[in-house]
Symmetry: C2
Subunit: 446 residues, 2 copies
């Protein structure tokens, strides 16, 4: 059997490795359009923060290891351009322009996502950068070094924009962040996002939300981001307004798309063609809270989905529950985390949501070094179910969110959750964990 | 209605406060034999570590606040000595020796636990200390100061002994730990306890497990802990070999006792007498994994049980699920956490246990500052259920254990748990959280 994989990042290489490990005689071919496979894309901002580190430190396993040690036919510089489902063939072109054609028995589309480039005049100017591929990371890093960049304008305020701003500030680079929409982190409860805003400003990041961007001008090594009522200057502009799934190939092959135009897959990661799977940032997932399709492109799902594809290709019939939308990011000294639904999402999903925001502490009463933790918790009045949690704090947020995520998978009510025996010791928590305090308060609202 | 409470610490004061808050006209009387109520007992080692801090910093709410602001009839220096269930009266004595007698409609026994004093000759010598009450903390702190203590022998190696050793080392006091049993932390998987042992030794704590203690000799301000083959010297000896429930009063009143002679209570915290409740370290609980009675005296359960008693006294009929045995403690730079059952406990509870120990990292591939995390996970081969988790690491352990604790409450299988959408960002975790890596490996053993 021939298992062909388009895309050699998290989902693609997870699938390839697992399939080969489980069935060494399987023919596994991976087509990767860049020259890089298996690297920690999420690590790029932290790598950029340190001028000494090589960007290639982020490579988890280089291409030759997959080829030599794992006997995977990994073809870098191979771009897939067309899937012919009738003849079960993939056509494409190599870096040198030569065409290729490959047949498959089972196909995995793991084409990932791409940064959205808003239609702004001048967005193609030299010095206007996006961060997605390892090659982007290398390019940004060398651009900063070669041009002695001291000022950067970041367009967008999502988590990659925030992580990049922290990285640039770590190198003493001035950072201005600008976006058309008026609210920083609109998915977040305003009490929590206010803490993030304060943290950014405390670290010298200038925030300009609510500014429509007209164009990017370039002259004399300076880029000018021109808004209706504001001009921001820098030697570099970073565009980080979000990503979109690379689903064109699937769409042209007639496969169904789901939310945000991600490739629709069932719980076995099968597309609408039973011989074609999709996994990673290009594919959708079921949300464990709503049961509906959703698109949240994150690394754990990509890896997990890659494994599930391998198992299913080998006939093991593995189903994935789906995702809770759990995410965490660092903003300077703050940890910001979420899982499940916010009020708007809960409302849209047909729940009758109740909410609470509580302020607690990271450590016990009178324990030195304690800092505030804000918890936002959402539930459904009708069923009593826990629907979502957001948290912000300097410590104890990144892993604490996982307790709520597990509760969402278990479809716990808030009344169930508040009974949970969570860990307590003075250096790590108040006696009542902030999550339990939130749940206790939320019950009163229901 | 008259609600009488014996014991003014976590469980007793939680019950008193909640009852008064919910029904201000209720007559609530609390009898506390010491002069201290509502303090963070768990904070004492950390307070002792800092010579500048006052021990009374740990008082969460002083007695007069309960009296004046909350209208609770709080009687400190009142020792309850007898419960007459027929006449529904409690008899006792005050600090000044005068006797008292009080009637009740509903009674809560919240008498806590006491340190075990092993029958060692010389254990009553001056300078031999136990840590349980705030008064103990004050006594130890002033003893160290007044005697310029530079060497301490700690008898016992449980978590209080370990926390105290860290506190003493923080003050540059030499610490030797000794106990008769040969294994440090016998409930822990040896791979994990080896990490704890290394951490203790790295911080200059001398460990002498497996030494039978004959007597404690005292001469010229020096205490000598004499073992069969070893003599340890110090100006102070700390005895921390565990605690036992203060259940004599309940037993003499003919109430049923449960495991470890803790007062047996149902899910509403009622003893075998429907008008008498018990809560806190003196009472038992149901274990959510085994469904059996167990005794794990910890602060969160005490507070939660106190609230449940108040609600039940007021007729709200609140039931508690029970405990998962979740606990965390700090040993120098290590976080040590557990929830649920270890292999021995799982075996004794009638499960067919499988286990795995995995070594993972606290941060992503190539992220600076990463450190090892060991995870020990136990499951049941028959049902597939997750039964317990232990973890040790420098960061990301204390709160991560809560994800496993919630899974135990939800009675998840390992196959369910491994599907959970846990948080990932490079500063906080590998893509596959250490808990998920353990679960993935454990599935292979089942």
């Amino acid at each position: 059997m021939k298992f062909l994989i388009i895309g050699g990042d998290a989902a693609g290489m997870s699938a390839a490795s697992r399939a080969k490990r489980r069935r060494p005689d399987l023919e596994v071919i991976v087509l990767e359009q860049t020259m890089d496979v298996s690297y920690s894309a999420c690590g790029m901002p932290y790598n950029l923060a340190d001028p000494v580190r090589q960007m290639d430190d982020l490579v988890v396993r280089p291409a030759h290891v997959f080829r030599e040690k794992q006997d995977i036919d990994l073809r870098t510089g191979h771009r897939a351009e067309q899937i012919d489902r009738n003849s079960k063939k993939v056509k494409g072109a190599k870096n040198d322009g030569r065409e290729f054609e490959l047949s498959y028995d089972k196909l995995l589309i793991a084409t990932g996502a791409s940064p959205i480039k808003p239609p702004i005049e001048g967005i193609e100017s030299p010095g206007v950068m996006c961060l997605k591929l390892l090659e982007d990371g290398r390019r940004i890093k060398s651009f900063i070094k070669e041009n002695g960049v001291s000022r950067v304008v970041v367009i967008g305020m999502g988590y990659i924009a925030l992580e990049m701003s922290e990285a640039l500030r770590a190198r003493d680079i001035e950072v201005s962040m600008v976006k058309p929409r008026p609210v920083l982190l609109p998915w977040m409860h305003p009490d929590l996002s206010a803490m993030v805003k304060e943290e950014l400003e405390r670290h010298g990041v200038s925030l300009y939300p609510g500014h429509n961007i007209q164009k990017i001008e370039s002259s004399d090594r300076t880029l000018r981001v021109v808004c209706d009522d504001l001009v921001l200057e820098g030697q570099m502009v970073l565009v980080a307004v979000g990503v979109k799934p690379n689903s064109e190939l699937a769409q042209e092959a007639g496969l169904f798309l789901g939310p945000s135009r991600a490739i629709a897959v069932d719980r076995q990661m099968r597309t609408s063609d039973p011989d074609i799977y999709a996994a990673g940032d290009c594919a959708d997932a079921f949300h464990v809270v709503t049961g509906e399709r959703t698109w949240v492109p994150l690394a754990l799902r990509a890896n997990r989905a890659g494994w599930a594809v391998a198992d299913n290709v080998l006939g093991r019939s593995v189903e994935l529950d789906g995702i809770a939308g759990t995410a965490v990011f660092k903003v300077f000294d703050l940890q910001v985390a979420r899982t499940g639904l916010n009020m708007k999402e809960a409302d849209e999903a047909g729940f009758d949501p109740a909410q609470v925001v509580i302020k607690s502490r990271s450590r016990a009463h009178a324990h030195p070094g304690s800092s505030p933790i804000l918890v936002h918790m959402v539930s459904d009045r009708k069923s009593g179910r826990l629907l979502g949690v957001q948290m912000v704090g300097k410590e104890g947020v990144a892993h604490r969110i996982n307790a709520a995520a597990v509760a969402l998978h278990a479809k716990m009510t808030v009344a169930d959750f508040v009974q949970c025996d969570l860990a307590y010791a003075p250096p790590f928590s108040p006696v009542w964990d902030p999550l339990l305090t939130a749940a206790n308060q939320l019950i009163k609202q229901m």
